[in-house]
């Protein structure tokens, strides 16, 4: 009996931490989502029940932001995965200067997304940007990257890919290093080609790592905000408005915290569902 009290006592700090840092904000957000809560009042002015949820779910703009987020995550994460895997395979052998190159490869990932976005904002500037300068010198069209459709969409993907490919590279490199060499060597002795080794040995053994890498990146890319805030501000029109940008707009531009929280609760459920799907289809190690 005494032991149970000691266990309870020892668990109290972590339970308190869990409640105050995770459960309370979630519960409070849910409460706010059921009220009209203007930012400028800083309090709930009326109880609106599920009205905010109905408003959000019937808003074409919300569904547009969902579609943009889905497209962004799919394209950006796919490109990051393919490039990251390519680089990981390239560096999975002895290359002179490999360590230096590997460290340089990781640099974009270490920079703040805000800084990366600022750099790219000026690199892709229509008049003073290096990219357009190069394009013009080859007599190629130099578009306005952030203010025209579909360039704006591809520009933000490019920035995300530039910053986060190193993350994929890092995880997949670690995965490649952990693969035992014996089956590969045995296959090579038996006459397997490099492609066959990759297709039938490396890739299956790397699968669990690939799933983790993709899942981590997808969860992060679903929350894309910094790049959009700095470069396109969700525009032109609402062409690059992600789910998080939509939430930000509701909260700090429209100053409607209730609607913003309702969208956030929906987003939490969405992420939770993706997590469940991941658990269901996770490959066995």
């Amino acid at each position: 009996m005494k032991e149970r009290y000691i266990i309870a006592l020892l668990l109290t700090p972590s339970l308190f931490f869990l409640f105050s840092v995770i459960l309370f904000p979630l519960a409070f957000s849910y409460y706010v989502s059921l009220t009209n809560f203007p930012l400028i009042e800083f309090r709930a002015t009326s109880w609106v029940g599920l009205d905010n949820y109905i408003d959000v779910l019937t808003s074409p703009r919300f569904w547009y932001s969902m579609a943009f987020t889905g497209g962004f995550v799919t394209l950006a994460v796919t490109l990051e995965f393919l490039l990251g895997l390519g680089f990981a395979l390239l560096f999975d052998r002895e290359i002179s200067g490999g360590r230096v190159l590997r460290s340089l490869m990781l640099m974009p990932m270490l920079m703040a997304p805000l800084v990366v976005s600022m750099i790219w904002k000026y690199l892709l500037h229509v008049d003073i940007g290096v990219v357009n300068y190069i394009l013009r010198s080859f007599n190629l069209p130099a578009p306005s990257w952030f203010s025209t459709v579909p360039y704006a969409f591809f520009s933000v993907i490019l920035i995300d890919v530039w910053q986060w490919t190193p993350f994929m590279f890092l995880i997949l490199s670690a995965g490649l290093m952990s693969i035992p060499r014996e089956p590969i060597e045995a296959a090579l002795i038996d006459g397997a080609t490099r492609y066959q080794v990759f297709r039938y040995i490396t890739l299956p053994l790397l699968k669990p790592i690939i799933f983790i890498a993709i899942m981590l990146r997808a969860m992060d890319a679903l929350k894309v905000f910094d790049i959009l805030y700095i470069t396109t501000r969700g525009g032109p029109g609402i062409a690059t408005e992600s789910l998080t940008y939509y939430i930000f707009n509701q909260a700090l531009v429209r100053k409607s915290i209730g609607t913003s929280c309702a969208t956030a609760v929906i987003a939490v459920f969405l992420l939770f569902s993706i997590f469940l799907v991941y658990l269901r289809f996770r490959p066995r190690s």
Binding site: G49, V149, R254
Partner: protein
């Protein structure tokens, strides 16, 4: 072993899913229960709207003296020693001029002063969260469109003037009337101390308008003299001429980035006699004037550079400096860069003219004192001194814009300007009239909705009528939900 692992994972997923579903049902049940049981927490105040349009037709500006007579000549003694003031401001030239003079005042009186400076967009986000949350600042910079949202957190400046003001130092009657009118709420409360007069006027390349060949061709084509445009007919003739008859690929640039469109669209709308709202605060974006205004805005966009949809203050200046566009509509407060030869490579070819809009947007900014300020008297005395008659010339020298009639009409100060027509352009724009953005409590909803729908039209995503109709419906619905019409 394998079997055991399978069952274990499945049961784990099942438990998680069941918990999630149960939580979801519980939350929805809670919401419904609360909806039926719950009562209104507190009624929302009803807002009525009155339009603020300042128009001064005479050359010499006059204002009623009621404000000046309200100020009591008896001044309370204020202690400064050991006080520390906290200021939330913006990092542009007029604010930096204020910072320099404020530090001078603080040093003279043994006070400490601490500045937090942001660009406009971040200042807006900061102030909208800091004031409602009760963060203690002594002085905050408030832009005109934020007045309706923030006024309940700010002192009535006239009350402070009455209590602590020195009428001789203040010389309130000398302040430009448009400036004062723009800083009042609909109920007449003066929320701040005017820190700059901000209107927009046209910056243009002189050479295109003075070239004899251009002048001749223009006269032949349009039947009148080539000059900076003063109305819409002249504007569209001039931009068409520049694009078709000169080496310039683009004719004009304006603030077309999404965040600025309430003002940019509003210039066309108010000039045509339209309004954002009727007296009951019902949105009127899709009125006949609104539709024509957006059509004209779109027509002007045809003459803009490739990156027209992202033109903010900074990029608009870049477009002008890189000789992409020969005419831009720019705010007075940011034209300082145009007067700097190190920044503006075409400074010797730069001229200023009044806006071609019939009514131009008023963009006054004010230093206000929050109700949470621990030192309102000291904050007031500092503002009064910085913006006093005696410091007016000094403030201009440091990069400020005039707030006083005597400054704007001073021949001596004009002689010191790099491009003296700048002040003529401002004065003419002020005389033609200003429209003020609606000072309503839910300005943010209107601002965000109109900006995003207009930008969607500009990017070709949706047509004019549909966009304005849907914007009107959306704002009305949001206002209904917020209890504005209750």
């Amino acid at each position: 072993m394998e079997m055991k692992s399978k069952i274990s994972r499945r049961s784990a997923i099942s438990t998680v899913a069941k918990t999630g579903i149960a939580a979801g049902i519980g939350l929805i049940a809670g919401a419904l229960g609360g909806y039926f049981v719950g009562t209104t927490l507190k009624p929302v105040e009803t807002v009525t709207i009155r339009e603020t349009i300042t128009r001064t037709t005479e050359k010499t500006i006059t204002i009623p003296t009621t404000v000046a007579t309200m100020i009591s000549p008896t001044e309370k003694k204020v202690e400064f020693e050991g006080v520390e003031l906290k200021v939330l401001a913006m990092s542009d030239p007029p604010n930096i001029a204020f910072e320099k003079l404020a530090k001078e005042f603080a040093e003279k009186h043994g006070m400490k002063i601490q500045f937090e400076m942001y660009d406009w967009e971040h200042l807006k986000e900061k102030i909208m969260t800091a004031l409602p949350a009760g963060v203690e600042y002594d002085i905050v910079l408030v832009d005109e469109p934020w007045i309706g949202e923030l006024e309940k957190y700010l002192y009535d400046m006239e009350k402070l003037m009455k209590e602590y003001g020195d009428p001789a130092l203040l010389d309130f009657d000398d302040i430009l009337p448009g400036v004062i009118d723009s800083l009042r709420t609909f109920e007449g409360k003066l929320i701040g101390f005017p820190m700059m007069t901000d209107v927009r006027f046209l910056a243009y390349r002189r050479s295109y308008f003075e070239d004899p060949d251009n002048k001749r061709k223009f006269r032949q084509k349009y039947g009148y003299e080539l000059k900076p445009p003063l109305n819409y007919y002249e504007f569209f003739d001039v931009v068409e001429f520049i694009v078709e008859e000169t080496d310039m690929p683009y004719g004009f640039g304006d603030l077309w980035q999404k965040d600025y469109l309430e003002m940019t669209f509003g210039d066309w709308l108010y000039s045509l006699g339209g309004r954002f709202f009727d007296e009951k605060l019902i949105p009127q974006y899709d009125s006949p004037e609104g539709i024509i205004a957006l059509r004209l805005l779109l027509k002007s966009l045809e003459y803009g550079p490739e990156n027209k949809l992202e033109l903010n203050h900074e990029l608009l200046n870049v477009a002008f400096f890189t000789e992409k566009v020969p005419m831009v509509l720019q705010w007075w407060s940011v034209t300082n860069e145009m007067l700097d030869p190190e920044v503006n490579p075409v400074i010797d070819d730069t001229g200023f003219a009044p806006s071609f809009h019939n009514l131009e947007c008023s963009g006054m900014m004010a230093y206000a004192i929050p109700l949470t300020s621990p030192n309102p008297a000291q904050a007031y005395k500092l503002l009064e001194w910085v913006y006093s008659q005696q410091n007016a010339a000094k403030l201009i020298g440091l990069g400020g814009t005039p707030i006083r009639k005597s400054t704007l009409q001073s021949e001596e100060l004009r002689r010191q300007l790099r491009i003296p027509e700048q002040w003529d352009a401002a004065l003419l724009t002020l005389q033609r009239g200003l429209w003020s953005r609606p000072k309503i409590k839910y300005h943010g909803i209107h601002d965000e909705v109109i900006c995003s729908w207009v930008h969607r039209v500009m990017s070709g995503e949706v047509d004019i009528e549909e966009a304005l109709r849907r914007a009107s419906e959306e704002v009305k619905r949001e206002f209904e939900k917020a209890g504005v019409y209750r």
